[in-house]
Symmetry: C2
Subunit: 250 residues, 2 copies
């Protein structure tokens, strides 16, 4: 009880984390560089193992570093894909047999897997939005350079698409929007709701997300000229892989 050193001194692990963060943000430590490991921090700062771990956990949870088992902790890299909100859905895109996804990748090869198509009862929110009890849903996962970057789940009113290629694994040239057009329900207007949050463990697993990586959730509704909603597409994006771009006039 001789003195109270400084009223609000940050704890040790915070100060260790702060100095490491500064070394990253200043550029001294670059993408992919190895950070001092637990043992190095224990020696350098004279702290216990758990304290060194706690300091590294701060950076990992901030998304600045990624741990590699048996190897070390490394500075994380950020190489985003630019996703255009408005341009990508221009009518000529899908009316000419091109998939929407092509607009994003600029020639980089992408793959689709984990495809599931099924008819299910609509959730309360989806039922309200699409004004239907049952929906056909199409789930899939997109990867670029073998890295998963996006999960998507499209919902269609069941009565509308029953018996069409939209309920098949392969939807044919132009994809589901071309099929909707053939039914007389071409989407002409879109609303996108965008959120960000931490992923569920399932999402983190499917997207192979390291700790400290949020996901961007885009919920897009497609409308016909009559204002009828015909598709609800929920997309889960790895936030470290994406930049969204929207253009509009005053």
């Amino acid at each position: 009880m001789t003195e109270s050193p400084v009223p609000h001194e940050p704890p040790i692990y915070r100060r260790i984390a702060d100095t490491l963060r500064n070394r990253i943000l200043s550029g001294e430590l670059r993408d992919g560089d190895r950070l001092p490991g637990e043992n190095a921090l224990m020696a350098e700062y004279g702290v216990a193992r758990a304290t060194a771990r706690q300091a590294l956990a701060v950076l990992i949870n901030e998304g600045l570093a990624v741990p590699r088992r048996g190897s070390g902790v490394y500075v994380r890299l950020f190489r985003p894909i630019r996703r255009h909100g408005s341009r990508r859905l221009s009518r000529q895109q899908w009316s000419q047999g091109r998939a929407i996804w092509d607009a994003d990748t600029r020639g980089r090869p992408y793959t689709v897997d984990e495809i599931h198509v099924e008819r299910v009862p609509a959730s309360e929110a989806v039922a309200r939005l699409l004004d239907t009890d049952d929906v056909w849903i199409r789930r899939r996962r997109y990867s670029i350079d073998k890295r998963p970057v996006q999960l998507a789940t499209s919902h269609f009113p069941a009565d509308l698409v029953e018996g069409t290629a939209i309920t098949a694994i392969d939807t044919g040239p132009g994809g589901v929007y071309a099929r909707l057009g053939e039914l007389g329900y071409s989407p002409v207007h879109f609303t996108e709701e965008v959120r960000a949050r931490m992923p569920t463990p399932q999402e983190a697993n499917l997207l192979k997300l390291p700790a400290g990586t949020p996901v961007i959730v885009i919920c897009r509704t497609a409308y016909t000229t009559g204002g009828m909603p015909v598709e609800l597409n929920e997309m889960i994006l790895d936030s470290a892989s994406y930049v969204l771009q929207y253009d509009f006039d005053a």
Copy 2:
């Protein structure tokens, strides 16, 4: 001591976190409810303190729970504000109150503080975008119901706005866009780039963000009819407080 480990079995703290998460997602534990504390988990599962803490840390870093010192760990709430990006002429036709994520904050007043206005050298990226060496920047913080929800930093080409009210704390009626209009540089077109990431400690502090809360970063560029960029506005949004909405046509 412990049972011989079974291959692929998740660690104890994960299983504890999983059961707690299920109780939250199933609705058994609701917004604001108190979770079992460290002592309760130690007793219930027969684990050490650090293990119980680790389980709670998982939920906290997922943004599902918030710790309150001396009180307990509580289920977190999500009450978003709806932020409309593009407000098109057809908006009335399309947006008929149907939205996946409800936003009940319409009309609530916001306050502005932490205002800083200064002339500084432009960073490399800003200099390239605004084609200028110096910029006037306007920083401020927005709060709703006394809760900080957004930080914003506007950048203007210094030569363009030097000597105008844009360089003053109070920009006058209509704000900076009205002033730009008087200069003959009315913004008519906007581009928004949207990202998500974990906040820096400074951002977390200014926005009073609990752990596990990402921020949404919006970088908006305003262009004149001539295509000249006249403002660059970087906004940092509390992701737990916002839903972005964009409307556009095919």
